[in-house]
């Protein structure tokens, strides 16, 4: 009985230090990039697109020797710059965009702003810059 009292006392003390919060996560703002604007800022593959693959842990499966496409640094551009993954005539149908976009079928997904950035990069010609 003494141990029971001790365990309960410990639990009550533990709960005193935690409080119920009602916080909301501030959503990301989706950048609006007009594909027809010639003066629009060029999206860099190395600086803006590559971090999407590495920070989302895409490379834990899509690595050298893993599932195609290989998205590791140095190999990603060559792996996705094919007609299978990138469709420059209708960028919205590119597989690299359609599968992991927020309502896509891939188990891990881009955030809305990452998806918008990737689509804009394909619309600008999917350059290795």
């Amino acid at each position: 009985m003494k141990t029971l009292k001790f365990v309960f006392a410990a639990l009550i003390i533990a709960f005193l230090f935690t409080e119920c919060k009602y916080d909301f996560i501030v959503p990301e703002e989706v950048p609006i990039i007009d594909p027809n604007d010639p003066d629009a800022e060029q999206i860099s593959f190395g600086n803006q697109i590559m971090p999407i693959f590495t920070t989302n842990d895409c490379t834990s499966c899509h690595k050298t020797g893993g599932r195609a496409p290989d998205l590791t640094i140095g190999k990603a551009y060559a792996a996705i710059n094919t007609i299978k993954y990138i469709n420059t005539t209708t960028p919205e149908q590119s597989l690299i965009y359609t599968m992991p976009k927020p309502d896509g079928s891939h188990p891990k997904k881009y955030t809305a702003s990452q998806a918008a950035l990737l689509l804009a990069w394909i619309q600008q010609g999917a350059k290795n810059n």
Binding site: V7, C20, D23
Partner: protein, 303 residues
């Protein structure tokens, strides 16, 4: 009037007699044997707690959804799998504490279960009553939470960065169970779930109703099922309308048990394993190819 008084006196004597009998029986009355084979029932808890000094190791695994059919062998090869590893210990009779790790959202959880009453053989206590509670920490990197900032109201307030207590979520449940016959045990429960931090269009609180049971068809095997419903309660909702209200979790399967093992293989909808995740975030619908294969294995040691 006189008749009425007489009636009351007779009633009082009669009931007194009954309760006096109950008091005599109570001293000998023992708890029923194995209302359930294990403390786990698919992904829910039962009122059963192993004897004092028992260490329990549990592996809970759920494969991906079966909707793609044979192309990924009904979810076995699918990448959307989830797993939980847990350890429970019983330091005092009918009180269990546990820790666990879940792959989805990198949850680390602390949990406790207390069986307040056990059902007795002579029916002096007709039902078993248990309390279950769990606190979980979402251990993902801050980049998983959109901007990594939170606000406590949706008005024009200054966003703050995600703190440790924002990652906490709570689940508390009252379970009432009864072993009706040797082959039939049923449970019902009510639960309250709270997340300290949610996305923009979601609720922090959710009340759930739970119903589960087992139907034994041989000394070691039973058919088991489980149904958890997140309730739509306008009073505790912070939203104007129900957009992504979580779907009920339906699961059914077979349990094979020995004295130190329980092996449960089932099909169920919820992708989450810890209860607050199932009540809050399940979007898989059993009516729309939302089922997935899963299993629960427990192993007991006594010291």
């Amino acid at each position: 009037m006189k008749k009425y008084i007489w009636f009351l006196i007779i009633l009082w004597v009669a009931f007194n007699g009954v309760s006096a009998q109950e008091a005599e029986v109570k001293e000998k009355d023992k708890p029923v044997r194995t209302p359930f084979e294990s403390g786990y029932l698919i992904d829910n808890q039962t009122t059963l707690i192993p004897i004092k000094g028992t260490l329990e190791y549990v592996i809970q695994h759920k494969f991906g959804k079966m909707d793609k059919g044979i192309s990924d062998f009904y979810g076995i090869y699918s990448p959307g799998a989830n797993v939980r590893l847990g350890i429970n210990y019983v330091p005092v009779k009918n009180f269990q504490i546990g820790i666990g790790q879940t792959k989805k959202n990198m949850y680390t959880d602390l949990n406790a279960k207390w069986t307040i009453f056990e059902q007795t053989r002579e029916n002096t206590i007709p039902v078993a009553v248990a309390l279950y509670g769990m606190v979980a920490v979402d251990g993902r990197n801050v980049s998983a939470f959109e901007t990594g900032k939170v606000v406590n109201t949706k008005g024009p307030t200054l966003p703050k960065s995600v703190k440790f207590d924002d990652r906490l979520s709570y689940f508390s449940q009252l379970i009432v169970g009864r072993k009706f016959t040797e082959w039939l045990s049923l449970q019902a429960g009510a639960s309250f779930t709270h997340y300290n931090m949610v996305g923009w269009d979601y609720d922090h609180d959710k009340i759930g109703a739970h119903f589960n049971g087992r139907i034994k068809f041989s000394p070691q095997s039973s058919f088991i099922f489980n149904y958890d419903v997140p309730l739509k309660i306008k009073k505790i909702s912070e939203q104007w309308e129900w957009t992504d209200h979580p779907k009920p979790n339906l699961a059914f399967g077979v349990e094979i048990s020995t004295s130190t093992h329980a092996f449960q293989i089932y099909m169920g909808t919820a992708e989450g394993i810890i209860p607050q995740d199932m009540v809050m975030w399940n979007q898989n619908d059993w009516k729309n190819k939302g089922l997935a294969i899963g299993f629960t294995i427990t192993r007991l040691w006594n010291f």
